[in-house]
Amino acid sequence: MSCIQTKSLRNTVFYKKQERVALRNCGYIDPEKIEQYIGVDGYQALGMVLTDGSFTPEKVIEIVKASGLRGRGGGGFSTGMKWHLARTIIPDADQKYVCCNADEGDPGAFMDRSVLEGDPHALIEAMTIAGYAIGANQGYIYLRAEYPLAVKRLEIAIGQAKEYGLLGKNIFESGFDFDLEIRLGAGAFVCGEETALMVSIEGNRGEPNPRPPFPAEKGLFGKPTILNNVETYANIPRIILKGSDWFTTMGTEKSKGTKVFALGGKINNTGLVEIPMGMTLREVVYDVGGGIPNGKKFKAAQTGGPSGGCISDKNIDIEIDYDNLISIGSMMGSGGLIVMDEDNCMVDMAKFFLEFTVEESCGKCTPCRIGTKRLFEMLEKITSGKGEMEDLDEIEQLCRYIKKNSLCGLGQTAPNPVLSMMSNFREEWVSHIKDKKCAAKVCVDLLEYKILADKCVGCSLCKKACPVDAISGEIKQKHVIDQSKCIKCGVCVNTCKKFGAIIKE
């Protein structure tokens, strides 16, 4: 890390290594004033597209295709291709829709919230351009109700855009009409899945449906529909204004542009960052992220949240892009990046992510509803010290079964964290089973609290503090903990800070 003293955030390593495209206006303009957005070239791209006769819908789609922009919601599908399909697959469709996925269900992620709260007009402008490109004049933004400030700012922005004639009838006197509505989601993770999201916008219970048909053919209200993520859209106005060649100067061969990540976990600079694709994980963690607190060692980073996988320390020099992450069993995901250090147990982390999917499974299909629950119990068996070596194979088989047989992406990806943490940290799993040890000292059932006889002075403080009377010993005599009684609450350790006689191992 460099040590230049600066009074400006913009001169810090944290900021300088970033490339701000989707977040270009966040933290710079007042999101509740459309004039400020217009002051930084806002609605110029839309104006150009609608008034310059050479910008046919086909040409707009061509530019988006050529930019190489891929979906930032996780899947990484080509945005230009998605628009092209929606434009052409049913040529005589009487109605089409443009939808935005602002459900942001990945726990700990807030990339989309930041754009919605910091630059809502960028989304409105982009969706209007998308409407023109595919031939739709109605858009829906599916937004989680837990984001009240985002809802409020987006409502204000839509109101202003309407007032200025940037939404509504005959925009820029081009003959093109476009309107936008917000639909609030109740925050079920599965409602971020595209078919469930559309069912939910239609006013029904958000449950997935089999695909095909894909939304480009039969989406919202049975009409051709595109669904893109907030961050995907946030890139669009810039791509149109600056051109696809500009966009392709950033990134790797097959992943162009930038990606926003929410850095969390064991990292100094927790927060929101936008990096060019192709930056190494090392740079993200140690330069932008400022390294790991308390001098601890980097162990792994989880991307893709409960659907993703981990990148272990041996892959820390990987260049972050869609294909590289897939190749090591992880995925780009929507932008959650959780850093783990030596104090994180990988069996426990796998359990943590799986617990989330168990709770969020909508229950429509058995492999996901029952399968993830069974899988969770198998992990619990291991963390409680009852695991057997055969369990590892069984876990893997069950993972493959759930992936293959679940109806929607939630179930199909739920086993990913388990598979990835098991393959990257197999020794750790084996040690939980064979040695009944958790090296990170997280799995409570595998821990023992012990009193070191040579350090104990017999003050009896711990004995008094122990809630289950597991500690015995006379004053000024060595004390001992009865393991059969100990509930591993750890209270005694704190009472003995002065002598440091009680350890956890």
């Binding site: 810090t12 390593v13 933290g27 930041s114 600079n269 929101l272 936008e274």
Partner: protein
Amino acid sequence: MKNLADLQAIKEKSQNEMKAHSTRVLVGMATCGIAAGAKPIIEALEEGVKMNNLADVEVSRVGCIGLCQYEPLVEVVKEGEDPVTYVNMDVDKVNKVIEKHLKGGEIVEEYTVSGTALT
């Protein structure tokens, strides 16, 4: 708004308005900033600017700049200079910034980002 010329006119007006103030004070007011206490801070700033007749200072609410654990964040942006970033602000600190920086033109070094692990 009917055409590009209208858009251009608003753009110029907006840019002129921004330029009319030689100093912009930006307060991070996304969910993260507000949760950390940005509301009383922007109020103190607006109040301070009014009380002291600082006509060339504009206080703006902005979105998240990305540094959650340093919120509330206040940036002082002057034409042609590097913005000054104040971190972990509170009302007392902000009053000192009004007094020293906005009125006196003297940066309050100790509250800036320079003292953090970021630099």
